[in-house]
């Protein structure tokens, strides 16, 4: 079984987000980069399949040389080899097309992407990749069990779970639940040393135009003071909830 885990290099959740170049670019000064948490859940599940089924695990990302420490970390966690497509990840369409061009040649049985990246929150790469590869896709995947030829899956839906059955090949959008936070693998010294010897291939991107561009960024305004509503003034409460909070 060949597994591809698509990795995104994202700012740490605790990083302060600021912008430069007239709010057109993320200020990377002092920002620590991590493996996108949803991708890490997927990678851990892939490593389990590697241990149980003898699967081979490849990690791939679209990005410049600054993404390589993250790929080395994936190799230290247990991935067999890594691929970096040397391009600026302009948007989800562009990333999906680059990954699809690579995955098509390798004929993977299972492709794992994160549900969404925590930087651009696009949540589209998995679905688009599946469409390019002509494979079925399952978003918000919280369980994946292989039983012979069939795969038992679970998807998180609003207010519940959906149980599915399918076959490989397959693309899934991983999220918390596929493995728990306590299951995430912290690379040990042996893994870190081995990662230095594992192959990290750098590929040239294919010609493809992104479908969107970002004009500018803006930080949300500071929160205003708490509005206190008189206990008897139900009309004002309803008005605020409906027109200001858009909650009802």
């Amino acid at each position: 079984m060949k597994i591809l885990v698509c990795i995104s290099n994202v700012p740490d959740t605790t990083s302060k987000i600021n912008f430069t170049d007239e709010n057109r670019t993320l200020n990377t000064q002092g920002v620590t980069y991590i493996i996108n948490p949803n991708d890490e859940f997927g990678l851990t599940r892939a490593i389990w399949l590697q241990q149980q089924e003898g699967a081979s695990v490849t990690v791939a990302t679209v990005g410049d040389i600054s993404c390589e420490p993250i790929l080395r970390k994936c190799l230290a966690i247990g991935a067999d080899n890594a691929v970096r497509i040397d391009a600026f990840a302009e948007d989800g369409f562009y990333v999906a097309s680059q990954l699809a061009a690579y995955a098509e040649k390798e004929a993977f049985d299972l492709v794992i992407t994160g549900r969404e990246s925590i930087d651009y929150n696009g949540g589209m790469v998995g679905a688009m990749l599946a469409n390019y590869l002509e494979m079925p896709y399952l978003a918000n995947c919280i369980k994946l069990d292989k039983e012979g030829d069939s795969i038992h899956l679970q998807r998180e839906i609003d207010g519940g779970k959906e149980n599915l059955k399918g076959k490989l090949p397959l693309v899934i959008g991983a999220q918390k639940g596929l493995v728990e936070e306590k299951d995430l693998i912290i690379p040990n010294m042996r893994g870190i040393m081995q990662a230095r010897q594992k192959p990290l291939e750098v590929l040239t991107p294919i010609e493809y135009e992104a479908s969107s561009s970002i004009k500018s960024y803006k930080k949300p305004p500071a929160k205003g003071p708490v509005k206190l509503v008189d206990a008897g003034d139900i009309d004002q409460l309803i008005d605020l909830l409906q027109n200001e909070a858009n909650a009802i």
Binding site: I17, Y120, N121, M124, E162, N163, E209, Y217
Partner: protein
């Protein structure tokens, strides 16, 4: 060029997030001086949507397919969008909406914008404000394609009633070659018991459960 919205249902009733999507779609249709089309699957009384500004409702009979099927739903939406010359498709920010959104976009050869938090600021090309960095920031994104699929963030627009004359049509349900099959759906219970002998025992006895 019309605007098309995906109306999500649960237990044959329209979900609240879809009423917000319909209201949002109406506002865009008004801004573009065009009509608003809704697509719903397995819904009996769809004319209720006329109260939220929907001009045309396509009801898709999903006999034998009782659960949400992203592959078939997205293909059906794309077929209707092409037949009705729609250039802007809107889905909700729910789990199903975010599942169907990118699938629809790629089949429709459209740009996909998720987490959109307001009406487009421009229509030629479409420019939207969307949240990013896990709600720590917003960005203004511009489409490079003529066709766009928007996933509206929940509670970002609100529900606005607008009564119009609506016409109902029956659409054709697209087929699928997907090997994935939904077996069961587990809805979370509103009764949450931790199973202890203190609170749960007393609460169950109090409720007669």
């Amino acid at each position: 060029m019309s605007v098309l919205v995906y109306i999500e249902t649960q237990n044959k009733e329209i979900k609240k997030s879809s009423l917000e999507v319909a209201s949002y779609g109406r506002a865009i249709a008004d801004a573009k001086s065009t009509s608003l089309i809704a697509v719903c699957f397995g819904l009996e009384d769809s004319l209720h949507l006329a109260g939220y500004g929907v001009d045309k409702v396509f009801v898709i009979p999903t006999a034998g397919d009782i659960y949400f099927n992203a592959e078939r739903y997205s293909s059906t939406m794309v077929d209707i969008a092409m037949a009705e010359a729609a250039d802007l498709l809107i889905v909700s920010g729910s789990a199903n909406g975010r599942f169907i959104g990118p699938l629809t976009a790629i089949k429709f050869e459209a740009t996909y914008f998720s987490n959109v938090v307001g009406l487009p600021t421009a229509y030629g090309p479409v420019e939207v404000k969307r949240s990013c960095f896990s709600n720590k920031a917003f960005n203004h994104s511009i489409s490079k394609k003529d066709k766009v699929v928007i996933s509206l963030s929940s509670n970002s627009f609100g529900i606005h009633e607008k009564v119009v004359e609506a016409a109902q049509f029956e659409g054709t349900y697209s087929s699928s070659t997907s090997s994935l099959e939904v077996m069961t759906v587990e809805q979370a219970s509103d009764k949450v018991y931790c199973g202890c002998r203190y609170c749960c025992f007393r609460w169950k006895r109090f409720k007669g459960a």
